[in-house]
Structure formats: structure tokens, C-alpha cells
């Protein structure tokens, strides 16, 4: 076992001259029950970050049970066989630790940050609920978190200006049987319908060690950390294999125009397209295109709409990457007295320009430089690093994909950006959503003759 510590000499290495190379060292092993484990040693601060990723999310939900993967995430904090309800948080806090969890379409993450002397505690807590959640599960626990989650939906969507827009976009961007069609937070009716037996079935299907990967990063001795993982997870049973999930391709065949009235002062335009999945060809080009269009004051849309014409309050663009397929978004809030038709016209002009001519070399370099700098920032926080190791492992099989990820951006040529804009942002297959003030449908983006 001494061998391991030799492999993990430096937290990460970065050449000070010439081509920078970002590399995060790690060791990886798989437990007999199928749990993949990745260890990363970094003694900058005496903290450990534990990130446990289950490959399950709202994309795995059944019709009539939308929001269940996320509700289940909440239920995971309601105690397990050896952890009475409430103790998960109490014990961690008493050790100086924090925790949280997050659910997306494809993934549910549980994470703890703790002083490194307390590493055993999160391992005990995570192994207990991975192995023995159902031993203490009750109907009442499910009901308690159902109310919390409904309030989460009210607080993060219904009581937020423009809060329903992302849900409306996904409803229109994906056909009803596509797993990205429904929102991760779920509908109120489906949250009401979730039952105790759903919890049992979901846990047995997806919360098995072979469907999870555990990253421990920070101030660890890898030999001891490995022993601790082996100890705490040794009695977690293997469970049944997870059923394979088909990956459907989403592709619109028409432009869909949607108008939604909201309690807002200003109309906001959303354009969205189906684009290539995370880490597949086109993904990095579209990330860079988002910066060319709307990253900073000199970006094309910001400069025209906000700076020069001053008909918009803000613009943003993003390639929102995900496992089964991504989305490219452009979002513009109009200033008072301006319609979304006016805004959409300018956006269309700028889209046409970037499809007809490549961006300048400086525009592209500016975007790449911003990406390169952001890679350094990601290494400052041990929890962020742990999350990235798990993300890279899940999507590429290589936890230390940092350099390959950055290389994707550095390899992009201006013509690639132009080509991807032409291929993936067509005018005749996209969602154009107008969110307008109540009673002001005349402000929505009207279809123009082109």
C-alpha cells in the first residue's frame, strides 16, 4: 500500500512557462460491491471534500412522478438504520462540517466539506444511507419532505420573476416522452402523488454502489482514506444491476413560438436550440460562441442591444451542456418601450452574421483566454475540484480530464465557431419564448418575414 502515496506527490502541476498543463493527480479503485472511488490529495487547507455521485436524476423518472429523483434526494437526509432522523446534520455540524446535495436531469450529488480530522464521519453517514436507508423509512418522513420540496418549487420558481421560463423551454424543446421534457423540480400534482412504495422501488433500483462514484479530495493520507472507505462501505450490498437507459435524440423540426404572461415589468426574449451533448463535438465551439455573442461588454449582442442601441437591459447566452444532449440559450430583457419583435430582429441579424462569417481571431482568443483562466479558479476550492473529478469520471471515464477539457477550447478555430453556429442554431428549429407583462401580449416577438 505504500505505493499509493508515491503516485500522489503533487496536488496539481502547472508548467510556469510554455504551454500550461493542468493536471490533477488521483488514485482510483473499485470496491467488491461495485463502488468506484477516486482519491485526490491536496493539503492547501486542512479540509476534506466528499462528493458521492449517483447516476440517477429526473431523466429516470416515470410519467406521473416528475420531481421524484429530487424529492428522493431530500428523503436521503431523513435518517437511516444507524442514523436517527436529524442526526445527519447535527453530527456533521458538531464536527465543523457542512453538507448539501443537488439533483439534475442525470445525476444526484451528495457532498460534505469537513475538517480533515473528521473524514470518517461523512463516510459513516454516506455508507449508512447507501446501505440501509429503508431500515428506518416511514410514510411520515416522505410527507415531511414533500412539503419542503413544494415550498422549494414556490420559492425558486413560482415566486421568482421569469421563474417558469426554463420549464416552458424544456417542455417545448423536447417531445413529451423525452426525459428532459419535464423539470427536475417536478409538478405539484406529481409531488403529491409520490408514495412510500415509490421510495422503496427507486432506492432499490438506483441507489446501488455500482451506480455511484465517490470522490474524496483534500487533506488526506490516501492509504488511510482508502482503508476508511473499504471499512465503511464493506457491508453495503451489491444490489441488482441498474437497467440501461436509452438515450433518445431530441431534434425540433419547426420553430415553436410561445408566449407566457408573468408578473414582470419588462418583456424578456428566450431563444433555445437542441445542441450536442456534453464533451461531444460542437460542445466547446458553442461554449465559445456564447461568449462571442454575450460574454462581456464587447460581445456582439451586448454591444449592439445594451451599449449602442440601449434597447435592452441585459443579454446572456450559454451552451447548457448535459449528458443526453445540450441546449443553447440566448436571453434578452427589453428596456421599457421596446418590443421583443424589435429585440428578436437584432438577435437574428447577429446570428446571421456569425453564420456567414467567422468571428475575428481576437474575439475567439478573448473567449478562450476567459475559459483558460476559469480552469485555474476551479482548482481553488476543494469541493469544486471533487465535483469536477466526479463529473469527468462519469462522462469520460478519466477523472483527470482537466487538460483534455481545456485543450478542446484551445483547438477551436474561428471557422469552427461559424460552422457550428450554422449547423446547430437554425432559424427553423428552435423555441422562441416571449415572457411578457400580464396583459401585454403585443410585446411578444412576432414572426417576421425573412
Amino acid at each position: 500500500m505504500r505505493r499509493l502515496s508515491v503516485l500522489m506527490v503533487i496536488a496539481f502541476s502547472l508548467a510556469r512557462a510554455g504551454e500550461p498543463r493542468i493536471s490533477v493527480s488521483y488514485t482510483r479503485f473499485t470496491l467488491p460491491n461495485g463502488l468506484d472511488v477516486i482519491l485526490h490529495e491536496d493539503h492547501t487547507v486542512p479540509l476534506v471534500a466528499v462528493n458521492l455521485c449517483y447516476r440517477v436524476g429526473s431523466a429516470n423518472e416515470k410519467p406521473g412522478r416528475t420531481g421524484f429523483a429530487h424529492l428522493f434526494e431530500h428523503i436521503m437526509f431523513m435518517g437511516s438504520k444507524d442514523v436517527p432522523v436529524g442526526k445527519f446534520d447535527q453530527w456533521l455540524e458538531a464536527a465543523g462540517g457542512d453538507n448539501n446535495a443537488s439533483t439534475t436531469d442525470d445525476r444526484t450529488d451528495y457532498y460534505e466539506d469537513a475538517p480533515s480530522n473528521a473524514l470518517a464521519l461523512p463516510l459513516f453517514l454516506e455508507s449508512d444511507r447507501m446501505g440501509f436507508l429503508l431500515d428506518s423509512m416511514t410514510e411520515a418522513k416522505v410527507n415531511a419532505q414533500r412539503d419542503v420540496v413544494k415550498n422549494e418549487r414556490r420559492e425558486t420558481i413560482e415566486n421568482v420573476p421569469y421563474g417558469l421560463a426554463p420549464i416552458l423551454i424544456d417542455e417545448n424543446l423536447y417531445p413529451p416522452d423525452h426525459p428532459y421534457h419535464w423539470p427536475t423540480i417536478g409538478s405539484m400534482a406529481d409531488l403529491s402523488a409520490a408514495s412510500y412504495s415509490d421510495v422503496v422501488q427507486f432506492f432499490r433500483t438506483y441507489y446501488v454502489p455500482g451506480n455511484a462514484s465517490l470522490v474524496i479530495a483534500g487533506d488526506i493520507d490516501p492509504v488511510q482514506a482508502k482503508a476508511a472507505v473499504q471499512y465503511w462501505f464493506s457491508d453495503v450490498g451489491r444490489g441488482a444491476p441498474v437497467p440501461p437507459q436509452p438515450v433518445p435524440v431530441a431534434h425540433l423540426t419547426a420553430e415553436k413560438r410561445v408566449v407566457h404572461e408573468d408578473r414582470v415589468e419588462l418583456p424578456r426574449l428566450y431563444m433555445a436550440w437542441n445542441t450536442p451533448a456534453e464533451f461531444t463535438p460542437g460542445d466547446a465551439e458553442l461554449d465559445l460562441l456564447a461568449i462571442v455573442l454575450a460574454g462581456g461588454k464587447t460581445s456582439r449582442l451586448y454591444r449592439r442591444l445594451v451599449y449602442d442601441l440601449q434597447i435592452a437591459q441585459d443579454v446572456s447566452a450559454a451552451q447548457v451542456s448535459a449528458r443526453m444532449g445540450s441546449e443553447f440559450w440566448i436571453v434578452v430583457t427589453a428596456r421599457s418601450g421596446h418590443t421583443l419583435t424589435e429585440i428578436a430582429h437584432i438577435v437574428q441579424e447577429e446570428l446571421n452574421k456569425v453564420k456567414n462569417d467567422p468571428p475575428s481571431r481576437r474575439e475567439l482568443e478573448r473567449a478562450v483566454n476567459q475559459y483558460e483562466a476559469s480552469f485555474l479558479d476551479r482548482l481553488e476550492n476543494i469541493g469544486t475540484t471533487a465535483n469536477l473529478l466526479n463529473t469527468y469520471f462519469r462522462l469520460t471515464g478519466n477523472p483527470d480530464y482537466f487538460n483534455e477539457d481545456l485543450a478542446r477550447y484551445k483547438a477551436v478555430d474561428p471557422c469552427d465557431v461559424q460552422a457550428m453556429a450554422g449547423t446547430w442554431l437554425p432559424d427553423d428549429s428552435r423555441v422562441v419564448l416571449s415572457v411578457v407583462p400580464n396583459g401585454k401580449r403585443d410585446l411578444a416577438a412576432a414572426k417576421e418575414a425573412r
Binding site: R154, E265, L266, E380
Partner: protein
């Protein structure tokens, strides 16, 4: 992404470099042994670790420099802290400090607004300026390889902003639109009316951005005079954190800022905070709202009070981390909310204490009752186990605030603003652990007085008005959004 809880648990914003390094003292378990799950594993003792010393320098023009080396990642953070804040806004010119800060990035030295933005973005750096009540922070965050170029831009921005009238007109319109958009956001409405209810016309009660009238009156001369008066070396501390050494970096800083001149003008004194306080309840009507946004509080404590550590511990029990009483009651026990919390905003003069949550409309009155129960409950002696847990949470979890260069720089800002000693961080854990049960009881009685609370509710008056009034918490006042923000300008509706 949808998360377990809505917020990062509150930790006090100043901390230390003394921290627990940690040998993995935990168990050395026998491989393959059946794990002992009968009790949670006990952490080993947290050994102390000291971060590098805080270095002090002075440029030839008198500018103070505080520097801390952090060599783990090749990036650097420079926070240039200027004693120029919104509490110095002249009468009728509310928002001047804020818009002056914003205008620094709209053209400086030889570059116009677009050229300046292009230069910063091309470096992959970030430059931002924003004004608080007493200080403006101009922050540069840059990869080490781009630091020298970034420093030139930072110096231009601080020393040679151009404040062009055309750019001011644009930024003013942007801000007027932002104020219009405040009408959409119940959290912002609640915060604005909470401040105003507590502090009235005092600078602590004013919106930092000003209002439509004060923005309309703003000229580039106002900005130039404000900048010339306060943006001077004697008013400035430059905080540098990152992958540099004092020896190699100080000559560069001297070159960028050493010849910067100007005489400091004394800021007008900030008047004392209001003394006379009355219980009050304000309901801002938002028809059809899915939730009611609640803020409850009062004017509480100044940053340099001797009660500081006891207050931090007491607040953590009441509304800090996940297991705090407000969250356990309103979220976990009753399911009224996605999360409830409280905090003390520590300022040079007594700042506000506030307890907050968004609750489902139909249970607004019940939620208010539970808030009051918890605010009364914290006046009773706290159980030893709860006190231990929360002190350990604050003391042991302390390291988390020192991970990034930006975090460390903002910790150092607090030292500079309040004149705290360099060993302040080292003493922090000990001072938290020294807080006693009677300290907590004393500060609860002193600062969570339930006789003069302000209750703010932003929600659907038709649904909640009668039941909330029936609680008889305080004399009720009913406002509309127009009462809070003034009428929306034509064209905005």
C-alpha cells in the same frame, strides 16, 4: 440544479489562518472488519496550522499595502479598498458612491468603456468595483501570467477614470431600469422596506443605488468631485493575495501606484442610528403571490461590540446552520418553508438583526407565530449539547472561509476596515470556544428584544391580511409596491 437547501449556512465573515491541519487521526480500521455503526466515529483532535504571515508595506505616497502569499494556484487577487461609501452620499445625491464605483469601469486612462472591457476580458482577468456603506472595493482577479497587464488596467481605473457624460447617461438609464425591475422581486422589496422601516432617513436605511430623483440629478461633476475627494492614497489600503512574494511584487505596485497623489478629505460623520423604536408590522401587497416573504428584526449591534463572539454563537443557534432552531421549526417540523435563517449585519454603528424566510401564502400567520416563538425561546437558557455543537461548528469549520484568494482578500478587508490586529485570526477559534451559556443568554436578552421588532411581510394581502392582523403582533401598516418604490414610469407598465 435543485438543492437540498436554499442557502449557504451563515458563518461570520472574519476568520483565521490558525486552523486545524489534520492528520488523518480517525480510525485505523482493520481491513474488511464489519464496520461498527453503533455510534458515529469520533474525530481526532484538530491540530493547528498557521497560514503565511500577513505582510505590511507602505508605498512612497503613503498607501498601505497588506499582502499574503498563497502559492497553491497561479492566480492573484488584489482588492483595492477605498474609504468611500454610500454613507458619504451628499443630501439629494443618494447613489453617488455606487454609481461612481460603477463608472470606474466605463472608461479609464487611454481606453474608452469598450476598449477597457476588451482589454480585461482578453487577459482572462476580472475587474469589478462596488460601493458599500463605508468603502468601495476595486477588485482585480487575474492569472499570475497576466498580472502585470492587469495591474496597469487597475491603476488606470482607480487613478484616471474618465467619467464621460455619455457613459453616465447610459449607466443611469440602466440603473433606472434596475429600480423598475425591483418591483418584480419580493425579496428585494422586503429588504428595501425592512431597512427603511428600521433606519428611516439614516444612511443605513437608504437604498444604495439611490432613487429615480437622485439618479436624475447626477452629473459627471458630482462623480469627479466625489472621486477626487476620497480616491486618494491616504484613504486606501491595497490588499494582495496570491502566488507572488512581497519582494518581487512590491516594486510593481510602487510603479503602478507610487506617484498617485491627492489630499484626503474627511468624510462627513455618519449620524447616530435612531434610538426610539416602536413595534411595527408592514404588509406590502403582492396579489397572487405563491409565498409571503418575511423579514423580522431590529437595530442590534455594532461590529466592535464586546458581545461580538457571543452574538455569533447565539445567532448560529437561532438561525445559522441547517440545524438552527428557525430552520428546524419552519422547515423540518412544520413544512412551511424551504428554509429559515437569521443574521446580524455587523457595521461600524449598530446594524440590523434579521430573521427571514419565504413561506407558503396560506400559512403566513402560523409561520409568523413560529418566528415569534423562536425569538422568545432563544431568551431561555440553551441546552449544553446545543451550545457545544454550534461552537464546534463555528470553530472547527472555520477553515472553509480561507480556500480561495478572493475569500482571503475579503477576510483581510475586514481587518483593514475595523483596524483589527494581525493576530485577530489566530484568536478567533479560542474566542468562540470561550463563549458561555450565560453569555448567550445575556446577548439574546440584549439584542433579540421582542418589544420593538419590525415585521415585514411581502405577500397577497387579500389572502393573508386579516389573519396576520389578528395576531396583534404590532400596529399594522398596509403598503402597495408603489408606496415602496414610487410609481413606475410610463412605458414601464
Amino acid at each position: 440544479m435543485v438543492e437540498k437547501r436554499s442557502r449557504t449556512p451563515h458563518r461570520p465573515c472574519s476568520h483565521s489562518l490558525l486552523i486545524l491541519a489534520a492528520l488523518a487521526t480517525l480510525l485505523a480500521p482493520v481491513l474488511r472488519a464489519q464496520p461498527d455503526r453503533t455510534a458515529p466515529p469520533r474525530p481526532g483532535p484538530p491540530p493547528a496550522l498557521r497560514l503565511p504571515p500577513i505582510q505590511h508595506y507602505r508605498l512612497s505616497n503613503g498607501t498601505n499595502v497588506v499582502l499574503l502569499e498563497r502559492h497553491s494556484v497561479p492566480i492573484v487577487q488584489i482588492n483595492l479598498l477605498v474609504r468611500a461609501g454610500t454613507s458619504m452620499d451628499p443630501a439629494g445625491k443618494g447613489g453617488l458612491a455606487s454609481i461612481t464605483a460603477a463608472m470606474l469601469t466605463e472608461g479609464a486612462g487611454p481606453r474608452g468603456a469598450l476598449e477597457f472591457a476588451d482589454a480585461v476580458d482578453y487577459l482572462g482577468a476580472q475587474i469589478a468595483a462596488s460601493a458599500g456603506l463605508y468603502t468601495t472595493t476595486v477588485a482585480l482577479h487575474a492569472p499570475l501570467s497576466k498580472l502585470d497587464s492587469g495591474l496597469v488596467l487597475l491603476a488606470d481605473l482607480v487613478r484616471r477614470p474618465t467619467f464621460l457624460a455619455g457613459e453616465l447617461a447610459r449607466v443611469r438609464n440602466e440603473r433606472l431600469t434596475t429600480i423598475l425591475q425591483f418591483r418584480d422581486d419580493p425579496d428585494i422589496l422586503a429588504s428595501l422596506i425592512f431597512k427603511r422601516t428600521l433606519y428611516g432617513e439614516h444612511p443605513y436605511g437608504a437604498p444604495s443605488m439611490g432613487d429615480a430623483a437622485s439618479l436624475a440629478s447626477m452629473t459627471v461633476d458630482d462623480l469627479r468631485i466625489f472621486h477626487a475627494a476620497y480616491f486618494v492614497p491616504a484613504n486606501t489600503t491595497i490588499i494582495v493575495v496570491g502566488d507572488i512574494t512581497g519582494g518581487e511584487f512590491m516594486p510593481k505596485l510602487e510603479k503602478a501606484f507610487g506617484e498617485w497623489g491627492g489630499e484626503a478629505v474627511s468624510p462627513p460623520p455618519v449620524p447616530p442610528v435612531p434610538q426610539k423604536r416602536e413595534k411595527t408590522l408592514v404588509l406590502v401587497d403582492r396579489p397572487g403571490a405563491a409565498q409571503s416573504v418575511i423579514r423580522i428584526g431590529r437595530i442590534a449591534a455594532a461590529r466592535l461590540t464586546d458581545d461580538y463572539y457571543a452574538i455569533v454563537v447565539m445567532n448560529a443557534l437561532l438561525g445559522g446552520p441547517f440545524t438552527s432552531r428557525l430552520n428546524m421549526n419552519l422547515r423540518e417540523a412544520h413544512g412551511y418553508s424551504y428554509g429559515a435563517s437569521s443574521q446580524f449585519d455587523f457595521l461600524p454603528l449598530p446594524g440590523p438583526f434579521v430573521a427571514a424566510a419565504s413561506v407558503q401564502t396560506l400559512v403566513t400567520d402560523k409561520a409568523l407565530t413560529e418566528f415569534v416563538n423562536e425569538l422568545r425561546g432563544i431568551l431561555d437558557p440553551v441546552p449544553d449539547a446545543d451550545l457545544e455543537r454550534v461552537k464546534n461548528y463555528l470553530a472547527l469549520g472555520y477553515t472553509g472561509g480561507f480556500q480561495s484568494v478572493a475569500q482571503i482578500a475579503s477576510q483581510l478587508e475586514e481587518l483593514a476596515i475595523y483596524g483589527l490586529p494581525d493576530d485577530y485570526f489566530n484568536g478567533y477559534i479560542g474566542r468562540i470556544l470561550a463563549v458561555t451559556k450565560s453569555d448567550v443568554e445575556r446577548v439574546a436578552h440584549r439584542y433579540i428584544n421582542t418589544d420593538d421588532l419590525a415585521f415585514i411581510v411581502v405577500g397577497d394581502r387579500k389572502e393573508i391580511g386579516d389573519r396576520v392582523t389578528a395576531l396583534n403582533l404590532a400596529p399594522a401598516k398596509f403598503l402597495t409596491i408603489d408606496d415602496v418604490l414610487g410609481l413606475a414610469p410610463e412605458g414601464g407598465k
